[in-house]
């Protein structure tokens, strides 16, 4: 019998190599992918999130855990797809046009993947048309917009307006974030949610998906 606790510990400790090895071992022993995700990986990431909230963990630990989770998920994803399992949601994420900063966006993308979402990362300096294309092509239900600069924040509003004009605003919930972004600004530009950190972004995305 494989030591499944090792997988939990590896994700919690951000040890990608061990996480991948433990996943391979578990799969070889016939443990189902859903059991690994539900009983070990997601609880480990939830624990990571709570350690982050109480400032025991910081962004680097969060990121290492997300990478460990992602390493395991890469092994499991083809098996899940073959079994017809659905992701928690389909997310299109990018830093808005004119803004080249992508660290925060990368972190949110990693955490969402770790949280079981399918994530299409469009990168940085993304034009509104690219968001629209991706929403249509990937049947996304969440759009995440990031901006680090006050000068590029208006591009969030432009992107949301473009999604409306393209007729796809109704099919997605829009989350925004980034250093200068505030909850008030999010409301002003017509976003559905704002998160000030990557860990909370996962909870927000889950809530928005539940709300439909």
């Amino acid at each position: 019998m494989p030591e499944l606790q090792k997988l939990y510990d590896a994700v919690l400790n951000g040890d990608q190599k061990t996480a991948v090895a433990a996943t391979q071992e578990a799969l070889a022993a016939g443990v189902s992918p859903m059991e690994l995700i539900t009983n070990y990986m997601v609880p480990a990431m939830d624990k990571v999130g709570s350690l982050f909230e109480c400032e025991e963990y910081f962004v680097p630990e969060l990121l290492l855990s997300a990478r460990a989770m992602k390493g395991s998920l890469e092994l499991l994803r083809p098996l899940l797809a073959a079994a017809g399992a659905e992701p928690a949601g389909r997310v299109v994420i990018g830093t808005v046009k004119g803004d080249l900063h992508d660290i925060g966006k990368n972190l949110v993308a990693s955490m969402l993947e770790g949280g079981g979402f399918e994530v299409v990362d469009l990168g940085a300096d993304v034009a509104p048309e690219k968001f629209i294309e991706a929403v249509k092509a990937r049947h996304a239900n969440i759009v995440c917009l990031s901006a680090l600069l006050t000068v590029t924040m208006p591009a969030m509003r432009t992107t949301i307006d473009a999604l409306k004009t393209a007729g796809v605003r109704g099919q997605v919930r829009i989350m925004v974030g980034g250093a200068p972004v505030t909850e008030q600004f999010a409301a002003e530009i017509g976003a559905d949610g704002y998160s000030d950190n990557a860990s909370a972004a996962v909870g927000l995305a889950r809530r928005l998906v539940r709300q439909g």
């Binding site: 962004v59 680097p60 660290i103 006050t150 208006p154 505030t182």
Partner: protein, 351 residues
Amino acid sequence: MEPRYYLDLAAAGLRMPIGADLVLHEQDDPASILLDAGALGRVVETAARRYRTPLAFPLMDLRLEKADLLEFLGVPDAEADSYHFPAPPSKDVLERVLGSAARPFSRRIRANQGAVRYIAEKTDLAPVGMLIGPFSLMTKLVADPIAPVAMAGAGVTAAEDEGVRLVERCLELALATVLRSARAQMEAGAKAMIVCEPAANIVYISPRQRRSGSAILERFVLGPNRALKALLDEHGVDLIFHDCGELDTDMVREFAVELKPAVMSLGSSRTLWEDAEVVPKDIVLFGNLPTKTFYSDAAMPAGEVRRRTVEIVGRMKACGHPHICGSECDVLHVAESAQTIRDKVEVMLEA
């Protein structure tokens, strides 16, 4: 500058934003000014005159050194901002960069050096140079620097992991690039240098790792910046250390004690009168009003700017630490909010 120069400015109650970007965007063609040393110098001079400061703070353009390095390595200027090294730069690349300090600079950075020269030769203002810090430059050369830096901090070596090798080699490139830029600005007449290390913060450098004894801050931030400080000291140029990233108190203390800047400029996430307890009194604290939110009347109404200005000036006076009240970073022009930003800067200066 004389050792008491900044202390005297603080004692005289100087207040100032880093405001050259506001002036730049009042001009007809800001993009062309960025390539014109004389015009850029006049923008910097106008900002200093408008805000009644003897310190000619330049534009805080953290893209210059990266573009200069990448031009030498054959990356087109249009791609420089978004370029990341896909793999660790080879030893050959490192040697080429280290061995070519005398090569010409790229056009944009030359204009900035020329602006420093303009201030030094044509005005009575104190010419201040500007550099991105070596660690922050490294983070711009790598797509995903946080995880490999954390792995390095946990003891993973460059031989064991390509990501660690990538950040280590890019840090070497970054330091060489920054030192070269510093030399050129000092040659142009800079008497002080703002070194901007916004990436040296708790997002990149884990407090958990540091608490467990990792030397990550020393290895990635303090060491390279100490080399830079030594170069500035050799030339009698003052260090103005700027970090508007999110810091913990230990980082503030380390930056102050280890780098010994003349002025330390911190972001609005810090409470300056508390930081004053860990910063030696011969280091002037600068800032740290939340100018990044000045664009929004909802998030930062003028009345709140006034309240915060009065509070920080009063508290810093009460704690007896030398302080120049100002912006937490450069005050960026936002087209849709240009007037409200300018108005709030005036509130900050007058309150």
